[in-house]
Point group: C2
Chain length 334, copies 2
């Protein structure tokens, strides 16, 4: 019998009701086979709720509860909170990940605290100074990996180059032979953007001449991303987060507008197109954002995640473990 | 007879073919009445083209041609180019605007050069240190004014507050009694974003207590903008530009996808909804971006503008003049 896959879930510190997250996990666990074990990190109140469930039927994924003393909330200073609250659900879960008691961690909590605790407990991968959050967006061609979407509030030119290296490694684990990399910028000319963008442009241009396993496409404007011009879009965490949330907000706006203005018959006529679009665009279908660059698999869900989004993130974490993602990325970074 | 409205058009320095811009202007001029006069700023080659047209029928808007020595291109350093090329079409046009030989200027050229020349030739309005580019986006409620969308590459906290003041003044000229202002940020908590965002948050909170003619809504995430939570969204020029172009790109992506996947019959069934959406979302329907904060009406079109977008921008400029926009904004800034 192969060893179980242990997925850690931090139930605390998000904008979602932790009881909803607990319920979603329990519903999901009943759809998964016995190779999966969930370790749920929560407080006493949640433990009581957890104990109410009947786990006598055991032909599906199993669950354990790990009690923590407190939680890191959304409005806390990330670094201070991680230093002070060593017995928070997040810090206990990160230590479990470090000690290989869990194979991956899913959290909907404070992004800054997730990033800070991952650096403290997991260490960064080789030649990487800080992790980045990687999200996937649909395009007319291949899905595009965008990073950073919010692990850090800003990025130096060196960190922008690191984001590119991480993105390339990620795409190679997905079978891309020569992924295309672009810098999200306000124009395509090489002099566009801040001094950091200009420096990163030159550094990536140079790197692409030494390392022919990726193609540097230069600066990319927001409107070109959806045409599928690049496989990897690099940006600082502030801009990337705005980019992602703007795309989500606008997609919802357009889809709602179509949905609300069609009669039932009209809607049924075009429901194939509509459902496909909704599936491709709605973040709930994507497995959260991956914290890439640290020695562990960490998935960050939206602060307020629907049960579908949360379940997608957990399934994404399971797939990363099954695919030995961490080993692949490490070997690509060598 | 009331004096003519003189609209200056810089035909040079954009990504569009200047002959196309000339043709678009001539087509447009034939649809406008004799109260409008266009002054076209171009080079010798364009002058030759201009002279080929027959202007003997004069029951429509009139046209003049003003010859310039050179042009400021897209890839030039804005400030250097404006200083060196005083006889460029852009600089001559800006001086015409300063001297009231034209009432408004439309350009598709280098944004940085437009901004720099406007500061040099027109001066900033009272208490404003730099102009900002203001664009309009559709939402579920009122259209939202977003600024800065690219006049400046960055913004201090004081400049973010200036953007808010300019946006409020703009919305008041449109009849808003108590416009709602928000800061584009990566989360709604007051501690989110960079130190500049945090300072601007505190400054606007304080200002909203002294000046009750606007409502400060705090930080706004990209996804909330399209719900219509604010009438004015403030941001630095880099982020604002990314925001706007991302929204444009995604809107095209979604609309194209629907369009290409429906049969002709299906499309006809839903064409009302589709056309309305396209009209609301496509930038060609919006009159370019307004350079607000300088003593003159300057409209910046996309570097590559369709004839529809270009004509929209020119009509937008005419409306600003007819509505005495500059006087209104100045009186609101007192």
């Amino acid at each position: 019998m192969s060893p179980k896959i242990n997925i850690g879930i931090d139930l605390l510190g998000s904008d979602s009701d932790p009881i909803d997250l607990l319920s979603s996990t329990i519903v999901l666990c009943k759809t998964l086979d016995t190779s999966i074990n969930f370790k749920l990190f929560g407080n006493k109140e949640l433990e009581k709720e957890f104990n109410k469930f009947d786990f006598s039927i055991n032909n599906h994924a199993s669950l354990e509860f790990i009690l923590s003393e407190n939680e890191i909330t959304m409005d806390e200073d990330p670094l201070l909170a991680v230093r002070r609250k060593k017995k928070s659900s997040l810090c206990i879960a990160m230590r479990s990940l470090k000690n290989k008691e869990i194979d991956a961690l899913v959290s909907c909590g404070n992004t800054g605290a997730i990033t800070a605790s991952s650096i403290i407990y997991l260490d960064c991968l080789k030649n990487i100074s800080r992790p980045a959050l990687l999200a996937i967006i649909p395009t007319k061609k291949n899905p595009c990996a965008i990073l950073d979407v919010g692990a850090n509030i800003s990025a130096t030119s060196d960190q922008l180059v690191e984001h590119a290296i991480l993105g390339i490694s990620y795409k190679k684990t997905k079978g891309y032979k020569k992924p295309k990399v672009g810098i999200l910028n306000i124009g395509t000319e090489e002099k566009k953007g801040t001094s950091k963008h200009k420096q990163a442009y030159q550094d990536l241009l140079k790197l692409s001449k030494e390392d022919t396993s990726f193609e540097f496409m230069g600066n990319i404007e927001g409107k070109e991303v959806f045409l599928g011009k690049v496989d990897i879009l690099i940006t600082d965490g502030f801009t990337g987060n705005i980019f992602l949330k703007t795309a989500e907000g606008l997609a919802s706006f357009i889809l709602d507008k179509i949905y609300n203005n069609l009669t039932k018959e009209e809607f049924l006529d075009i429901s194939n197109v509509f459902n496909d679009l909704q599936k491709r665009l709605h973040y709930a279908q994507y497995p959260g954002a991956l914290l890439i660059g640290v020695n562990g698999i960490v998935i960050k869900c939206h602060g307020y995640s629907s049960s579908t989004a949360f379940a997608s993130a957990i399934k994404g974490a399971i797939n990363f473990v099954k695919q030995n993602f961490l080993d692949s990325i490490k070997s690509n970074l060598k």
